[in-house]
């Protein structure tokens, strides 16, 4: 078996890489695929918290690379979904603890076991990013519709383009969209960002308080409820599996007929 290794990356920090990794991972696992979430944010471990698995971490990625344990020993299986595992980051080391060759080797091992290997990468374009993309053949670029995040995403896209021998496909996830503000032309919408970045859309995720609630519970929204953000992440997972899922309308409801007409001509979609 050979799985797909997909890196989730952004340039700017705090735009939703870890949130997207957890949610896409859970959604993919719910479609029946076997999934491994890899936390490459060495020194700033977060993914275990979002997954509610922080109490079950024994070994970590650096232990595997430095051969203090077997890969299988470091993988934390999610009890709710036996086909979902987490390979946690080391919390007390830094980005220099691994190198690109070690990551390539690790990814080869992982994709022999799992259908999907999702790599949550650290912010920035330095060694942490280089290591995170080293073993990947696909990328998901995350940004919010803010100018500074879009600029940094463009930088990442440039770096991914330069690796097109290894990274064969990259698509965009636009996170934290506020449909009402987009409808009022107070911020850029999906079409605006796509046009600026000239990149294919994988999905758009609305700003959603349920993300904060679900993070606190350790249960990613895509697995549990009927929130808009959860649906957006499930759609992303289905598109990753090759399904053609139409981009859904996520315009603000209860608006006036004027904004409805405006929305008709310039809809916001997930």
């Amino acid at each position: 078996m050979s799985g797909r290794v997909i890196v989730i990356t952004s340039g700017k920090g705090g735009v939703g890489k870890t949130t997207a990794s957890a949610n896409i991972g859970v959604a993919l696992a719910n479609t029946g695929a076997s999934v491994c979430l890899v936390d490459m944010d060495i020194g700033l471990r977060n993914l275990d918290i979002l997954m509610g698995l922080e109490n079950r971490v024994v070994y970590n990625l650096v232990d595997v690379v430095e051969e203090r344990c077997k890969l299988r020993q470091a993988l934390v299986k999610d009890k709710r979904m036996p086909n979902l595992s987490l390979l946690p980051a080391a919390q007390t080391r830094d980005k220099t603890a691994v190198n690109s060759d070690q990551m390539k080797k690790l990814c080869l091992e992982l994709k022999a076991i799992f259908d999907f290997v999702l790599i949550d990468s650290p912010a920035g374009i330095e060694s942490g990013f280089q290591n995170a993309v080293a073993g990947a053949e696909e990328a998901i670029v995350i940004t919010t519709p803010e100018m500074s995040a879009v600029r940094d995403a463009d930088r990442i896209i440039g770096l991914l383009e330069a690796r097109k021998d290894e990274i064969t496909q990259y698509r965009l996830v636009l996170n934290r969209i506020r449909p009402k503000m987009v409808a009022n032309s107070d911020m850029m919408g999906v079409e605006d960002v796509l046009e600026i970045l000239s990149i294919q859309l994988l999905g758009a995720v609305p700003e959603d308080e349920d993300i904060i609630i679900s993070t606190n519970k350790g249960e990613p929204v895509s697995g549990t409820d009927n929130t808009k953000s959860g649906l957006a992440f499930r759609n992303i997972a289905r598109r990753l599996r090759g399904e053609e899922v139409p981009f859904m309308d996520m315009n603000a409801k209860n608006d006036t007929w004027v904004t409805r007409i405006a929305n008709f001509f310039n809809p916001v979609r997930v």
Partner: protein
């Protein structure tokens, strides 16, 4: 004086339109690793070269940088009055 058309244009309109305009010119400069002021120098030199061969209508000269996919394309437009030789 000629200006590079939408690049470095002072944006007007809604916050979304302004953001998009600013993003476009910022990313053109980022992707080309273009230092500030460089285009103005190019503009002067190009105009000087064409002006050696033709009388120009200087007010109508236009330079544009457009984004085609992720590449930039430069267009210069000179109105020629007559040949100089």
């Amino acid at each position: 004086m000629q200006v590079f058309n939408w690049l470095f244009r002072v944006p007007t309109g809604t916050a979304a339109v302004t953001a998009k305009d600013r993003m476009r010119s910022m990313l053109v400069a980022d992707r080309l690793e273009l230092p500030a002021g460089r285009l103005e120098v190019l503009e002067e030199e190009l105009t000087a070269v064409v002006a050696r061969y033709f009388d120009l209508e200087p007010e109508t000269t236009r330079f544009d940088i457009q984004q085609i996919d992720r590449k930039a394309a430069l267009t210069a437009n000179f109105r020629l009055v007559r040949s100089k030789c």
